[in-house]
Symmetry: C3
Subunit: 355 residues, 3 copies
């Protein structure tokens, strides 16, 4: 199976509907019907030098493919579980107005999706913002250490002036890993277990990527607590305006330099690129940067155009993936978008062999 | 001793006083004198299937009885220590204006209350909001894993329009437990010890309770970090307005879907019940839901009237306690209120045998 | 080497300049040139009864000397590494406008400063507030458990009315320690390691200090997450106005009683001293107060003039250091200020012997 060939290509726009009315809640014109396919597969990803994790991947990748829709859109997602354990998908931040049975909570809103089974979710994008999707079965394993999460960005129908000022989106999903359980599905995530690898978008420095910028750009960092610890995200050299919490616009935005992104939470900050140089953006939980005594963890660097090169720079001459933080995918309009560099290596399992 | 027979019944209203003046601080009419009795006893409670904890219980229950007073009230609490270890009570959030020796801090404001001794606290309710009371002796054991806490709700003299819109209060006190030390008083709560059970109002799912609601209600969730870890409380399907921090009204409330409730903190959110269905409200720290590989931890479910039943629903047909989150007690006006379902089993100890 | 003799005395004011222009950013008159010298040395400090830590100390002390400048000042710091391991200094909160190569990040903005080497940082104080400086090499050890941090306070050019109301500054830097690694440089701070001592300004109660106040004072608490865990700082008896996050003024300040100070973060609160008594101010993470079963950790007490003495008070008759929270140093105007009581005992090492 070649994950590269399906991903976003299955998203179909089914046309414009005049009005979608759900209970007392209604949107004006331009809502679209969007339909996506997600598989869940057992693949192996390389998180850090010397550490591979067996994950449950959405369309073969961790984090999962970007799903980008507009407030009011009517969304259908067909999910196929190709793994050896049960799953569901919760659309974290969607209120499921009138559609509670698509909320994805096992034994509360649905039965779990067994290995080899399919399930279809159908909901309206009733809340804008930095939302996400993740499994809701045995979350201490599936979410915390098996990578079952991806970004769901819902654009507002009426963006604010601040939102309109943004020229580039940067999606950062931080999480934790437990290397002793990396190879073994069905294990890990117990209270006494020790997380020993930490990453952004499932890569630990130096496998993560820089962000190449030009003076004058305005970045919107969308930070997700996808794992099981708090990540204190500290950007050097710039004023970060904390603008959105969990997708909601702050009533009174304020500036910060270090953002406490806890499990399940999202913090958006909007930042002017006004200070040419090379500035690190990293987790300030010190031990999250300790990869066996070497620097690792959730780290990126703002690299301004025209600065360097310097032969002593850790990432001097590094091959650059401009979509590592989904920035390119976010420019492509609405739909679902594969991120080729996040795709892992498929495993040969009995379940997958049957496909 | 039958804890069911005393609890709130000892609260006495001693009449209205025209004005209470303490230093430069004064309230207008209608302040009441209120007098309560609290015992501290060694009882055993069932926290989760297969896990009982020996606790120091206020009036035999964990969490302790609701104390509900009004801003400006003059409060006297007589405390009797029936246990084998010393204690005090700190009234967390009461400023103790003019009464610092009732602040309940051992060796700072008073000597600790020894086994078999009594102590009387006397203070004015000088701050409204979601306050609480808890022991201040050896907090790493008594507060973190022995259940020495209860809610103290102080109604404001002049509630805001937002506060007046609330139709039901829901009090949620989250904490952590260390099962190896469950049986043994005087042990536990050391830095390297591992918390392995997690609960709301001292019950881990499935022993916790749902919240049965009707469309149109307005709930005020009063969330307490009573234990020793952060609980990331995520409500599905609804916009939560974060309205009060530590009892104080936010200057500029904002919406959230996941609330980081840390040790000692309180977060109030006000939520419109506008989306019929069945929606989980749970801690998003993944491992807090891992009870030996089974789903457990701080979990409740909003069950709307008219939804279900479904035979696959985890709580289908569950016996319902409408006061599990103190909602019924909060409707009863001012006083102290026993919650029968929180009462544990009294132990036979030398100290208690002497009573 | 006598650390007491150099500290702040090397700070030189080099005169007033009319305008400093860096890129598009400029300040009006009164910016000053300030020049400081910092050494990094291997010394031993006493953190708690029975626990000494080997640290990398700035000018021989932990926390480091106060650096106090004004927004717009032009700052030069000469750093000498007298230790056996490499370091850098990051000026956390300084944006390094136009001076990114003084940001202090090894292999991103500079090569690390090797043992026996010197490095000069030069930057403008482009952001006011509660900033700090700390090492950026192997932070899980150097920052988390070797004390490489100190306060950098930048006064705003145009203070607000709220800021002007303050009569005293109180700087509190909380962190964690790992006693098994206390003696051994180059070890500690790995993900599974257990922090077992906790402190404010590198002292655990009872070695920390009270704050002696008079009614009518207005205190500004500047709380720093200098270590690797969240400290939930709970002040008793007073309304804390949360006014600044990471040095930035809050757009809409709000009141709190328990403040979640995470790694890398700073929270300022402004508090009226209006309630005479003795009130504890402590970390509400319970196990942070557990020092082998005895009360310890990040604790201070507000002692109002005229209250006590009481022979049962834990700190009755304690020798008082009014500069333990840098309050005296903060009154001395601008410059760098040694805090004699923070100075450790110099070690005899090969490196130091060469000096």
């Amino acid at each position: 199976m070649d994950f590269r060939s399906h991903g976003g290509s299955r998203a179909r726009l089914l046309g414009c509907v005049a009005t979608i009315a759900l209970g007392s809640w209604a949107f004006a014109a331009h809502a679209e019907k969007r339909e996506f396919n997600l598989t869940i597969d057992e693949v192996t990803i390389n998180v850090a030098p010397g550490f591979n994790a067996n994950v449950f991947a959405f369309n073969g990748q961790v984090p999962g493919p970007l799903i980008h829709v507009r407030e009011g859109d009517d969304v259908t997602v067909h999910v196929t579980n190709n793994t050896t354990l049960p799953h569901t998908i919760h659309w974290h931040g969607v209120n499921q107005t009138g559609t509670w049975m698509s909320d994805g909570v096992p034994l509360v809103t649905q039965k779990q999706v067994e290995p080899g089974s399919e399930f279809t979710y159908h909901w309206t994008a009733d809340r804008p913002g930095s939302l996400w999707y993740h499994c809701h079965v045995n979350v201490w394993e599936h979410v915390a250490i098996r990578g079952m999460w991806g970004p769901l960005i819902v654009d507002p129908k009426n963006p604010s002036a601040l939102e309109k000022s943004v020229t580039r989106d940067v999606i950062m999903m931080m999480n934790t890993w437990e290397s002793p359980f990396g190879p073994t599905y069905g294990k890990g995530g117990s209270p006494g277990d020790v997380a020993d690898y930490f990453s952004v978008n499932a890569k630990s420095f130096p496998l993560s990527q820089p962000i190449r910028v030009k003076k004058g750009e305005v970045l919107r960092f969308r930070m997700y607590g996808a794992g099981d610890e708090v990540h204190e995200m500290h950007l050097h050299g710039h004023d970060q305006l904390f603008s959105h919490k969990d997708g909601y616009a702050m009533a009174s935005p304020y500036y910060v330099d270090t953002v406490p992104v806890g499990p399940g939470e999202r913090y958006d900050t909007i930042v002017q690129m006004n200070n040419p140089g090379r500035f690190i953006f990293h987790d300030h939980v010190d031990r999250h940067l300790n990869m066996g005594g070497m620097l690792g963890g959730p780290i990126t660097v703002l690299e301004y155009e025209g600065v360097g090169p310097d032969n002593w720079y850790a990432w001097n001459g590094k091959a650059y993936d401009p979509d590592f933080f989904y920035s390119e995918s976010m420019k492509k309009g609405y739909g679902m978008f594969t991120n080729v560099s996040f795709i892992g290596t498929a495993q040969k399992s009995e379940r997958r062999a049957r496909q």
